[in-house]
Amino acid sequence: MTGTSDTFSPPVIVLKDLVKFFGRFGAIRGVSASFAPGRLYVVIGDNGAGKSTLLRIIAGLMEPSQGSLTLLGASKVRDVARSLGYMGHAPLLYDELSGMENLRYFAGLYGLHDEGVCQNAMQMVGLDPELSRRVAQYSQGMRQRLSLARAVLHDPELILLDEPFSNVDVHSAREMAALLGRMRDKGKTIFVVTHQAALMEDIADEFVHMTSGQIVAREALLPPRRTSVDSKAEKWL
């Protein structure tokens, strides 16, 4: 099943007959779809539906068993790594370092040495750059926020998030969701895999339903969403 494609700009992701097997278990069993840029896609489905696997393949962490993937016009994900941001199910952070130290290191991997970039990223997710506490001592909400900061540090065009709200308090979750909406408004393409669809209802552009390794439905929410700016969120801008 092919999804809607925006006729005004080239699709940011094109998947063709994607298959991924682990031994005899088919995690992805034939996915063909294309996704337009500047939208917020929410991928939902039961456990084992293949959502995380799909995200990992798109992020370039896993090779598909069969099929092809075109990302931002490139056939090899490595070529466009600079334009890609990934937030995994696990925090992807160093426990022994502080928030800023983590971000500084990862910024360096993208060739960014400006201290301001890291500070902005932390402030954007609602964390204090002055905080010298080690990540090991962060609450889950803080950890997820920092992980998000790390994923978007280098201002990527495409952002992939795997369960960003897991075990996060409601307040943090709502703020993160609002932030994602604002990033989408700026033209970023965002994929969120989550079990908490309700959180995303107001800001998602499309719900992608997966079952048993296939996309079974795509539910576009019309008209294209724009995040409402409320006074609470305003202070993070």
């Binding site: 992020a59 370039g60 962490l61 896993m62 090779e63 490595r78 790594a81 600079r82 890609l84 990934y86 995994g88 199910h89 696990a90 925090p91 992807l92 952070l93 160093y94 426990d95 022994e96 370092l97 130290e101 290191y105 990862f106 360096g108 991997l109 993208y110 060739g111 040495h113 080690r134 790390r150």
Partner: protein, 224 residues
């Protein structure tokens, strides 16, 4: 940032993390001390004889200490799956490898620097040959162990029984290097033969295997 720059950044991060937690360092130091003491109980030769066997003892002790250290290196990257963050970034795989290898090298060299005086004391060692040659052998030999060790540690984290897998695949391939280190050390200590061949051989070993590691690391890092 160039590969060297990223290698440096990763190395700096690792050293800093190591300094903060001091887990590995402390337990390694104690382990090194234990190894020396136990060997001293097991082998108690006269000063004259000891020069002939210490070459072997010292390197076996270093080897065991190194293996324990090597297993730790990648463990840090697996916690919180933080290795994914590196892999997703445009940073080159070899920068990561070199950073880990250099970190391990420094670590093992520190251990050796601490174990050597202990050996000297327990075995009343005096070297007949020039000490600077011992240093060259130590550095070349340690790099030989560490470069392959770092690579194989990365291999073995993807297997079951990873702690036993590392020495299992590392030791056979390191045999010529070990032979060289031991024989060169013995030759220098006793002054009975020239270590030149071994020094050259170790240098060749280092160059060959460093190249092979750099060629193959990216494939291994991304095997999932």
């Amino acid at each position: 940032m160039s590969t060297f720059g990223m290698t440096g950044a990763t190395l700096y991060k690792d050293l800093r993390m190591e300094w903060r937690s001091k887990d590995a360092i402390n337990s390694m130091l104690f382990f090194a001390l234990l190894v020396v003491v136990i060997f001293s109980f097991a082998f108690t030769p006269t000063a004259e004889e000891s020069r002939h066997i210490v070459g072997g003892l010292v390197w076996v002790a270093f080897l065991f200490a190194a293996v324990v250290a090597l297993n730790q290196t990648w463990a840090r990257e697996l916690r919180n799956q933080v290795l994914d963050a590196y892999r997703v970034s445009p940073a080159p795989a070899n920068a990561l490898f070199l950073a880990k290898a250099l970190g391990n090298f420094l670590f093992v060299v520190v251990l050796e620097a601490l174990m050597v005086p202990l050996f000297v004391v327990f075995y009343q060692l005096r070297s007949v040959g020039p000490v600077w040659q011992l240093l060259v052998v130590a550095l070349l030999g340690t790099w030989a162990l560490v470069v392959n060790g770092t690579f194989f540690a990365a291999l073995s984290i993807r297997t079951r029984s990873r702690e036993i897998m590392l020495p299992l695949i590392l030791f056979p391939i390191s045999i010529p290097a070990l032979l060289g280190m031991v024989d060169a050390t013995t030759s220098i200590l006793t002054g009975e033969a020239s270590p030149d061949f071994w020094i050259k051989m170790l240098a060749v070993y280092d160059v060959v295997f460093t190249s092979v590691c750099l060629l193959l690391f990216e494939s291994v890092l991304n095997a999932e």
